[in-house]
Subunit: 331 residues, 2 copies
Amino acid sequence: MEPIRVVQMGLGAVGCGIAQTAMGRSQLQMVGAIDVDPAKVGRDLGELLGVEEALGIPISASLGDVLASQPVDVVLQATGSHIPDVVHQLKEIAEAGCDVVSTCEELAYPWLRHPELAHEIDAKARECGVTILGTGVNPGFVMDTLVLVATAVCSGIRRIESRRIVAARERRLALQQKIGSGMEQAEFRQLAARDEIGHVGLRESFYLIAAGLGWEIPAAQETIEPVFAEERIPTEDFDIVAGQVAGIHQTVHGASEGRELMLDLTMSMAAAASQDSIKIEANPPMHVEVVGGTHGDQATWSMVANMVPRVAAAPAGLLTMLDVGLPRAIG
Amino acid sequence: MEPIRVVQMGLGAVGCGIAQTAMGRSQLQMVGAIDVDPAKVGRDLGELLGVEEALGIPISASLGDVLASQPVDVVLQATGSHIPDVVHQLKEIAEAGCDVVSTCEELAYPWLRHPELAHEIDAKARECGVTILGTGVNPGFVMDTLVLVATAVCSGIRRIESRRIVAARERRLALQQKIGSGMEQAEFRQLAARDEIGHVGLRESFYLIAAGLGWEIPAAQETIEPVFAEERIPTEDFDIVAGQVAGIHQTVHGASEGRELMLDLTMSMAAAASQDSIKIEANPPMHVEVVGGTHGDQATWSMVANMVPRVAAAPAGLLTMLDVGLPRAIG
């Protein structure tokens, strides 16, 4: 079987991780890399990834530049969390006839926050005969896809609770900062009120589960609260003193027709260990634990690479994890 | 949306459980029931299920009898564990133009033990434009599908171990007897040597995982050993004395190109608690536990009912859990 030709679009920390991971897959062939940063354009991808030998893959400024020299099957997009920020790129990729696997969090269930943009993207994808999928570890796997799969053996579901604890001390600085570590309470609350802090994707996971189960839950409630440090938390890069923010606790909850869905996410420098947990009240009940949690970064990199053949084989359109077959690792 | 019209074929303990479960689904409409037992034919399905009021669904002797009075979309087959025992029925159902969700264990990965029959069934299904799927809790879910989904966030998999412990004391008598409870060692070993005891489906799970991951493991090794009672085990129906067989311990193991797959199943009256466990050595590693295990009977009933819309929407052919989309509960 011919390898699937992929291009990495976006070479931040996530994009570089995906590129490195995808290059380890025999079913995929990395044929290009794209970033808007002029300081990266023109350099060899290997240099950016810290690989000793040059890969012979120059970083391009645009997909057009890559396509000028060879065909591309699938673009791996890691350029933004919000649909309005990536919609222009998605349309451009579709018009070039390439499928997309994207880490854009809002794309995991795009029909929620941006139904009009989602329809535009979907129409463009169908018109161009390409598939577009948003995925990753969260949203995309641990608090939605894995939850849905766990329901496959259940009847009469009354309540689903998915709880994720991320021990942020084990994670990179960008995540530690994203969750407000070291902030004062007032600053956190101001940012939260302006929607400028918190995990993007929890509502998407919620509505992906609801859509997968055929549950109509019109009004899910979201909460975002700071987690406070109870004692001094020293880290490599900064210290958090007692009383300062150590992380976030975010929930999305909704109920309808006697069925209840609760997603509960804590990402905190104070958390002792990571853990993912799914509890389904049903016949039979299911209680799934991912001991030690599902690693955020590495899992996202793997998920994107693993979904490439699924997306390449899927029908055209803006799809979700409900539509692209059984997710699994590829060789 | 119009409900999918289903018929239950086979009204043993598993078939009755599926029928009852399927009738609880708003997306499904039970329009008939079939059994070969003359003592059941002609009675109302509700009577067999212990429902107070008659359901108006007479038990028929054949699919033809059901089809004489109404159309059928999907047949839920629970009539045998081995492909040679059900192949005739499958062809008959296909010729009637109905899809099939079957609990036949060998059908979970039919290309292994009976490649020629599998090709015949597949050809017939395609010719008739119907879909045929073998599924259940095990094989079909806990030691294969769930394992595959857990790999979706992994790269560089070195070893996968799936371990299932069934505390047989919590299960029905038929299972307790199936695993050799109360036998003397010599009798167990004679039956094992003749392939007349043990769980059907562990090799199917093994090769379903291998196929899903694209691993070629030509020579998997299977072991079946008795588990002995260390002390007297009293049960509702019989007592097991120390030294007698309390259950089975069965494994399938294989390795190829530095990758290893181990399935390890214990079903024993001596087991204190049920538990399912998946350990994947990879980047990132994944360690999934189903606390308290996945209940065998109820999970199979649910799985069959939940997969009906997936199978109704899938392309024609003899498919596996790799081919029918994301498994999940239906309303």
